[in-house]
Subunit: 215 residues, 2 copies
Amino acid sequence: MEIKVIKNIMQKYQDLAQVNRSLLDSYNIFSINIMSSPGAGKTTLLEETISLLSGDVKIAVIEGDLMTSRDAERIGKKGVPVVQINTQGGCHLDSSMIDSALKQFNLADLDIVIIENVGNLICPSTYDLGEHEKIVVISVPEGDDKPGKYPVMFQEADLCILNKVDLLPYSNFNVDNFLQDVKKLNPDLEIIKTSAVTGEGMDYWGQWLKNKIKK
Amino acid sequence: MEIKVIKNIMQKYQDLAQVNRSLLDSYNIFSINIMSSPGAGKTTLLEETISLLSGDVKIAVIEGDLMTSRDAERIGKKGVPVVQINTQGGCHLDSSMIDSALKQFNLADLDIVIIENVGNLICPSTYDLGEHEKIVVISVPEGDDKPGKYPVMFQEADLCILNKVDLLPYSNFNVDNFLQDVKKLNPDLEIIKTSAVTGEGMDYWGQWLKNKIKK
């Protein structure tokens, strides 16, 4: 009986994810769900991405956080539409939250919707929000052992961004070990190395996003 | 009806936490539950702590991870008893897992049991495992905005370790902002700054632990 209830709820979320994706498709909008540990640099990466693509690409952002609206305020300063979702303690976004957020945008005027999930390398990994691709961001200071320890996130991802590579000289992060561990979990997962500080990889990442635009 | 079931389960975990604490008390063992984001440096901090206290203090470690036993292998090399708990995807440890783990130790021969929780700044914060004190580790590369964004962890903690302070020169982490934000959430929370690389704060942290020993 209880299992049935849980199944129904999960099915409801899955159905709503499909509704979100169909809505985005009807406007030819490409959408990504960016996930990482707290402090891996998602918001800073987004700020730089918006600066890089402004003029060419019309971006909106959905920010997920437990409590504050700090990230939405940072993104809002870049001049793009942004909605903050506060999960009030919830450890991941879900498709019903994205459904509500999408209603706040003028979708006809957008090319890309970027969803920044709650900082958590575990819980968000298995929730379909209706995005087109899932991106996991991992930062050098977290260590090269994270793929093996948080495998589902790397198995589910369509792209991995290895961020804060400017800190490699001050870290014992072994890039070869990291790449090998990722390959074991998800052989086709593309990895882009980035640094918002030095700008390394940012042009490639910007082009990766541009190539996904549907109109 | 369903809420009742959830209440019962939570009560069961709470009761078992008390059983664990009573068991530890009966052996005069002090226990801590260390929590942080993935990659904040918990395991390295533990390795250094064991080196620092070996000879004086008899330590055992319970390692929590989704899948691997890498951390337990690292701790085992330091020559202390260690048990690995694999949560198989679960985003936090619970008191029944600690109950099972404690049965693996010769408690009469221990001064301190250190529990390293799953890397997650959200879900572990509200689960009592039967520890005596909760410690949150936050690392400089994660950014100074984390207390406001993950408030429950800082409200629940008895001690905060600000780790990887050797990376402050390569970061825009503002220590004063961080301390102010922590004070708003938990005015009496003690904060120790550490670096396993330079050794900063490690003697103080070792002495903090020694002062807690009950025999």
